[in-house]
Symmetry: C2
DNA sequence: GACAGATAATTGCTTGCGCACTTATCCAGC
DNA sequence: GCTGGATAAGTGCGCAAGCAATTATCTGTC
């Protein structure tokens, strides 16, 4: 096995580890958020992304990217959240193709209730990962990512 | 904002980055594998996991864990792969509840064809991530995970 | 100012997933 | 050696996802 093959194997292993850690965190978050706030992970992600816009609107497409979802899935996700009165669609005057979404106060309240659940569960999931041999290194490396600029 | 809130924000940011990188890689792999080998990412993952067992069998449950899938989803995934003659179920004599699976030669051949696609696509996806500001740090940190023992 | 091509969002359709329940088998204690 | 509880896998069902096609709107070119 040459040095090139080695690099291939390292990447493949890194990817498997990444996928495993992702699955573990997502499962933990999904359970907790569903139980305690009636939200799936993507639903929480969307509400959180909206709140992060700090009162400013977000187009469907930005939501798609934030949630890593197809446009059609985003439409239906927004439908569900709108039916639950957690967000509103706002037709945008300057580009009538575009649709903005923003949190309702009910959405903000639910998010306030869900956020501590999310944060606590994420911490627990990462702690657990740090004690799992295959995941520990990657889990720890998350601490060292450069901070987001707005924080 | 106190120091505790800071840690919370760092974790949340790390998780969003992990999720974004995961989504990017999965999308790239899914496209390429589907186009060039007719396999989804989980299907490839299962075949690859089986081949990594080096001729040894794998129980359904191990497959579940390797693919981060529920038992029922694993059953159906194995059904699909068995219908395509890529793997075989083998009833296990010493525990008749358990079912082992192993690659057929057709499965091995398809995997041989798919693996370079996978490896090449993964490399490209990671390269691209390393040039995306939000993802670069995490993508690079994958190189530094401790190597798997059997490699 | 009309037309061609691009872009934003939605809808129809198919597929794969998880949950809850069922079936088959193992094993521990009596 | 039988019975109760645990464990492995499979099934019925509803839901959410992606792809391809559709509709509405914008933009540049003549």
């Amino acid at each position: 096995m040459g040095i090139g093959d080695d690099a291939v194997e390292v990447r493949a292993h890194g990817w498997r580890t990444l996928a495993a850690l992702h699955a573990a965190i997502e499962a933990a978050l999904g359970q907790a958020l569903e139980d305690e706030a009636g939200l799936s992970v993507v639903e929480y992600t969307v509400l959180d992304a909206l709140s992060r816009q700090d009162g400013w609107h977000m187009r469907m497409q930005q939501l798609s990217r934030a949630a890593a979802l197809s446009p059609s899935a985003t439409t239906r996700l927004v439908n569900r959240l709108e039916e639950r009165a957690l967000l509103q669609r706002i037709l945008c005057a300057d580009d009538r193709r575009g649709i903005y979404t923003e949190l309702t106060t009910a959405g903000e309240r639910l998010l306030e209730r869900a956020r501590p659940v999310h944060d606590r569960t994420l911490e627990a999931a990462l702690d657990e990962a740090e004690q799992t041999p295959e995941l520990a290194a990657l889990a720890r490396s998350l601490h060292e990512l450069t901070r987001p600029l707005h924080a």
